[in-house]
Amino acid sequence: MNRIRVSPTETIFTAIAFIVASCGVTDFDNVTVTEAIPAISPDYTGVTIPPNIAPMNFLINEEADYFRVEVTSSAGEKLSISSRNGIVRFPERKWRKITGSSPGGDIQLKVFAYDREEQKMRSFLPFYMYIAEEPIDPYLVYRKIHPGYYSWYRMKIVQRSTESFREESIVENQLLDHNCINCHSFNRNDPETFLLHVRGSRGGTYFAGENGLIKKELRIDGMPANATYPSWHPSGKYVAFSANAVRQSFYAHSDNNIEVFDLESSLVLYDVENNSISQPGDADAVEYMQTFPDWSPEGGYLYYSRTRKPDFEIDAENIKTIGYDIARRPFDPATGLFGEPEIVFDASGLNKSASFAKVSPDGRHLVFTLHDCGTFPVWSSEAELCLLDLQSGEFSKPDIGSDDTESYHGWSSNGKWLVFSSKRKDGVSSRPYFSYFGSLSKPGKPFVLPQKDPSLYDWMLKSFNLPELVTGEVSIGPRDFERASEKESLRALPVENMVTPAE
């Protein structure tokens, strides 16, 4: 390690800082510069962050008795933090001043570490966070659950401010007989219009909207299972669901874990205004299993994953032959009728499978999860996010992945931020990561949702499931769900036909 004399001004400044921080440490003659940036967790070095993000607290994983972090924004704002245990927590107001002053610029973070025994101070090379001009939506909604297997006891869906550390429950299952709650879905990031499912004794799909919170029973005769994965039509008039008969199996071999697959699945269309539900009876629905619907932003197409229905009983070996492609069908919102399907991405042709198609708000791109086989990539370590240019058909893998699972994802309302689940930290628990998509060819280095306690991801076992960005605070709370659950479900009515023979 090179020992370099630092400038007298810097030495004096740092010494004063350390005197304050370290109660009586006065000798700072022995100052060295480490030619590396410090090891920190979460890894926030070189990340691109929104100007309105909560303080990016982190933990310095270096040996020292005291630390000092000097933050300087490109606009000249300064902030310094001292820490005895390596935990760096930025005061919210000062942090906001730093980030808010430099949209489109950057902030430099320089770490100093002091070893009391050796009376030695080190300074590390500075690292940077780049501040995008576009803000991120102010709330992130996710489900907090233990990842995996059959059982649950407590689970809740919460909203977390992305601008601060405030987290509030939207629904908690102990008020709903501990039943499973899942698949929250917002209409174009709108916190006032959303739905989620509750299973079991308080079962139903709960719709939040202008009329408050209403429990509905969407399953009608002929549906292979309950309405499962939803997508709101941008008009708010429809919701497309896939109805999935899901099976979970557990691998015996140590390299694998769980396989979740569908025995049956098909798309259904729910008309919110008329409380009616229709099922396609065309060849696509008969020959294929369809799942994970997602509307284009103008509502003219429904994208989804599909695979030909297997004519064998699925086991640990033959599931490797099941690959889902991404297809789409034109849709006429006026009539509620679909046109003929077309393949958008032929994943099975690559011996792969594609899930969770999500069209960007400008309608130009589609992000999906590519994995080896089957329909549920959450437990597939090879699962990665891919980008498809819907105009040119060009397919790419943005440099935001890891060796572990990247799966569920969603766009911010301005289309500049992608939030996605990643298990890169421990291989098991999913965490919400954000990546800046100012330029599609070079998205920003992802960063995990900052926490007040930056070590939280090191010990927390629960997952942040289905992260969804929303443009404001959800006003409905757990007691609202409890009240709604005590009422009778509004039963959806069947509609005969939803398919046109041709577009």
Partner: protein, 587 residues
Amino acid sequence: MNEQINNNITAYTPVIFFILTAGYFIWLGEYVLFFQEQEALFLYSGEYLKEFLARPGGAAEYAGLFLTQFYYHPAMGAIILAAVLTLAAFLLLSTGKRIGADPFFLSVTFIIPSCLLLLMQTHYYHLMVYNLGYLAVLAAFRLTAGKGGKPVIIPAALLFVLLYYTGGGFAWIFLAMCVISMAMYSKRKSGYLQTALLIATGGLTLYISRYLIFTEPTEILLTNPLPLVNDTRHRILYYFLTIVVILYPVAARIEIKKRWGSRFAGHIRSLSAPACVLAAIILVLTLYNPQTAKVIKFQKLVSDKEWDTVIRLHESSPSRNLIGQFYYNLALAETNQLSNRLFSGKQDFGPTSLILPWGDVHLNRGGLFYYSTGLINEAHRWAYESMVIYGYRPQNLILLAETNLINGNYRIAVKYLSLLKQSFNYRDIALQYEKLLDNPEDVMAHPRLGEKSALRPVLTDFFIDTEFPQRNIPMLLESNPGNIKAFEYKIAWLLLTKEVEEIVSLIPRMKEMGYTAIPRHVEEAALVYSNFTGSLPDLGGFRISDGTRTRFGNYISAYNTIVQNPSADRAIIDRFDNTFWYYLHFY
């Protein structure tokens, strides 16, 4: 003089109670302590505490779990438990003196709540938090009680709110004590107003909790953590104790001595409390259930991996419980003795006691079958599901750490180890396992983890059959043909399902599996086969031992005697109850 003796007896009664209670839980009721210590893991961490502070009564639960961790050492646990139960008597004495209770009544009855708590404590689901809840109620009343027996309104209201937050549902018992005492001793209008105010405090507290603070169901806000154990006897004791506590301040002021006359009062006064303790101890001994104690003792031995002791105990004094017999079979499997010794212990449940079915009831132990046979992923799943449903428990966290170490998932193993490190009793285990992190060679060299690792599926992968778990055994053997434990379980399953042909079809594989002789029960099956078909099966180069042949001859003779003469002494056949033949004919 007599008064002095009476005072001495009153003073010594709690001491006697303490000694007898501690003694009981050291020598007989130790299983209750072990069971409860295993039910939850107390962690020294802020996050752990935060979870408890998020609900009314959580602080009492936290304190209860703090004390329960010392049950790990039975003597220490028994002393703590006895001290807590005895403390109830002192609190009652102190309260009685404060409110000017009738001395006669007080000296006769002060030990009753402690005795009732002791009786309740014999149920293994009677947790420490329940005792602490009653102590908190008595302490709160002691603090608020005025000299005339009437609680002082402001401290009572404040203590109610505090007690509601810390002790949850126990605050209602305190409120009832205060309200009844106030109603009884209030002679003026202001007294009734204060009573109404106290009730209103209760209602307002519940309302604020329900609508503004906590997101718990109303039932939980009202009752957590009251001792609502699902057992009729325990429930009756709970109601009785609660009534005793609520009415105590009022009853304590009734002057009984005058009514009973002074002639017998002294004797009654000096003997009642010791008699009450004696009666409680007799009842406790009567309520002792050796079968329950045995199963929990087996559980402890299994968790300590004392396989030989489990085997010895079941064979000398059989457990008639499914779980007890499951532990016996597990111990045989861990020592590779299933095919040799399966019928040396009782097998009342057939193959069910070999592999427990999936479900909440067996979540804590069912995974041990999978761990024993090397189906590490499935063992992990059971431990994980147990953690999700029941929270952190020593055994589920240890199993989660071990299975993740075996599978090389070090990033997640470290999380479980860090949780264990935050405990008092399991820190050393965690530190020991921590050395294995990122060290696959050391994991393989570890006596237990290495052995389990070698049993894992290797050649093929398959989905675990959760509905018919026995079907996993042949799939595992196909994936790891050298897995001796799976092979032993396969034989045991076939023995317990009486599939003679299939049992003997395995004999030719035994040499390559490392057997040096045909296991005893397989020999017995081979002779049955021979008896039916007239010829021995392929013995794979082995031979049937002379001893087994002789025993078989004797068995046939005894069996014929019994069949031909049903009134003959069963002992002649029952001496063969450790054989496959006996199981085949009589189970």
